[in-house]
Subunit: 327 residues, 2 copies
């Protein structure tokens, strides 16, 4: 499955929060119009299986198979594997559902055969009837590592096993220097048919930065002809879910949309911030759109997607922005 | 876990039928008295996971976790992994239950770390509270291959996918020449503390022959000081379950206990046959015990175990048999 000729929007995202907007975009745009470049810095080998948490969240979300209550994994999930595993003394700090396991088992075999992760995700998406291109940011391994007071932790150890409790001193992306971005990701960013590039409201430090750490992808973003719009994950000085605000505090950064703007400085043409943070707007030296960003239901996701696309469309017709002037 | 000093009985077996008698022996003998040497010729890699059907049947049976209705796999099993797998286009001809998967996933990781299968089974048995030594016949790979009119099939393709339908022309055990038997199996066979060696009523061609194909184990059996008793899997010219009688017909062998006696000729001291086949007894040039061998419930399993042990005890006190004269 190659990038469809009609692909019009590229989204960059991590897991849960970003996937919500990706779903909104997918529903608003219709089939064969969306390419999602997904963080794989959270990927890890667990029990000998290759687990790709963000890719799977995006896949399940777009396929309508994500669990809405839990916020991760599949709907109608059962946990008999986990209980048998615990009985046998296996590591049970990372929960793998019975249905979810099918994806991990098939992917692990695929990768052991020397085939690329991107090919597996394309096939899985096809099987689940998803007509968006879900791309791992890279087919090469990149691993997000968290430097904490208690030492360096691989992402899932920090995120799941330690529940984000250790204070973060720094974050780095093992392998990012050597990794090449997925070819289809670069092609979609360069494509004149791409009308908008959306940085979803995922955690900038944990979910978007690993993608930006790929130098060829970073370069392609800077040179991309389409407007780049980011959606701030901050609502009223808080992150909706996950440790974004906590990490910002630990890194000495104020949890504000202005700080998000500074973080993505030079990479985007516009920032969409929540209506609760509208007072941040004047402090941001960039095109700003103010809109409700909390996505509780499907209608919220679609409404935000429409706002983002409208914002990007307006930016495309306005004068060149600072980013494009630089690029 | 090494062979306990008090080990008194060694059983050779395959899956379902053999495991029933192994359970009877385990219950009659009590903890730390039984060593079961299990066929691994049926082992295979499926979906990248190492599956050991016979070992797992014995483990689940002795642990009281086997499904009695289905005849294989775990009790209280669910099949959500399989349904998700099918949805993703994965191979679903071999069914893996959600609970059962835990054993395969943990074992696969263990083996990939270069550790022996025997060590994994000892650990799994300990975790499930089984106080018998469940030994793979070998830590080296041996693969049962079925030569059929339609070509050579790996065992599980023949047994499960093709439902034993292709006519069998021959059976061979890939890797058996190079494989070494599990050290603890050889030690148990040689041990003067072993009071009886029981060949369970498993399929002689598919389940016991792979074990006997290991030359060091075959030699150890011939030299074993304890009496060797086989239980015929034939009841009234039929096998209780599985393709034994069909295969015998295809190989031009009459499905009778006399044929079983001929098959194990020179390897055993006595054969226990079903009461429905008592007319075979005079034609067998060997000590024969006639008893009900159909094991429908736990009481049947224990009763047969007692008959087998009593038979062996009598053989031990009688004059040396032909086998021991040869050895």
């Amino acid at each position: 499955m190659s990038a469809p000729a009609s692909a019009r929007v590229v989204a960059l995202c991590g897991g849960v929060g970003g996937a919500k907007l990706a779903l909104g975009l997918y529903r608003v745009l219709g089939p064969d119009a969306l390419t999602v470049i997904v963080n794989t810095g959270d990927d890890f080998e667990h029990l000998g299986l290759h687990v790709s948490p963000d890719l799977d969240t995006v896949l399940y979300t777009l396929a309508g198979r994500a669990d809405r209550e839990r916020g991760w994994g599949r709907a109608d999930e059962s946990w008999n594997f986990m209980s048998a595993l615990a009985e046998l003394g296996g590591e049970d700090w990372f929960r793998l559902g019975d249905r979810d396991l099918a994806l991990h088992v098939l992917r692990t075999r695929w990768l052991r055969q020397g085939k690329p992760l991107s090919g597996f995700m394309a096939e899985a998406a096809r099987r689940l009837g998803v007509r968006a291109l879900i791309l791992p940011m890279s087919d090469d391994p990149v691993r997000t590592m968290i430097d904490t007071a208690g030492g360096v932790l691989p992402f899932q150890r920090y995120f799941v096993e330690c529940r984000c409790e250790p204070a973060v001193r720094g974050i780095f992306f093992e392998g990012a220097t050597m990794a090449r971005a997925a070819g289809e990701a670069i092609a979609a960013l360069h494509s004149p048919q791409t009308e908008a590039i959306v940085i979803c409201p995922s955690n900038p430090y944990l979910s978007i930065d690993p993608i930006l750490a790929l130098s060829d992808l970073h370069t392609a973003l800077q040179a991309a002809p389409a407007p780049i719009v980011a959606v701030s994950p901050i609502i009223g000085g808080q992150a909706v879910k996950g440790p974004t605000a906590k990490i910002m505090a630990e890194l000495g950064i104020e949890a504000s949309s202005a700080a998000i703007a500074a973080h993505y400085d030079g990479l985007m043409d516009g920032l969409l911030i929540d209506e609760n943070d509208s007072t941040d707007a004047p402090t941001i030296d960039l095109a700003v759109e103010v809109a409700p960003t909390l996505m509780l239901d499907l209608a919220d996701r679609e409404a935000l997607a429409r706002r983002v696309l409208g914002f990007a469309r307006r930016l495309a017709t306005s004068k060149p922005t600072q980013r494009r002037a630089i690029a």
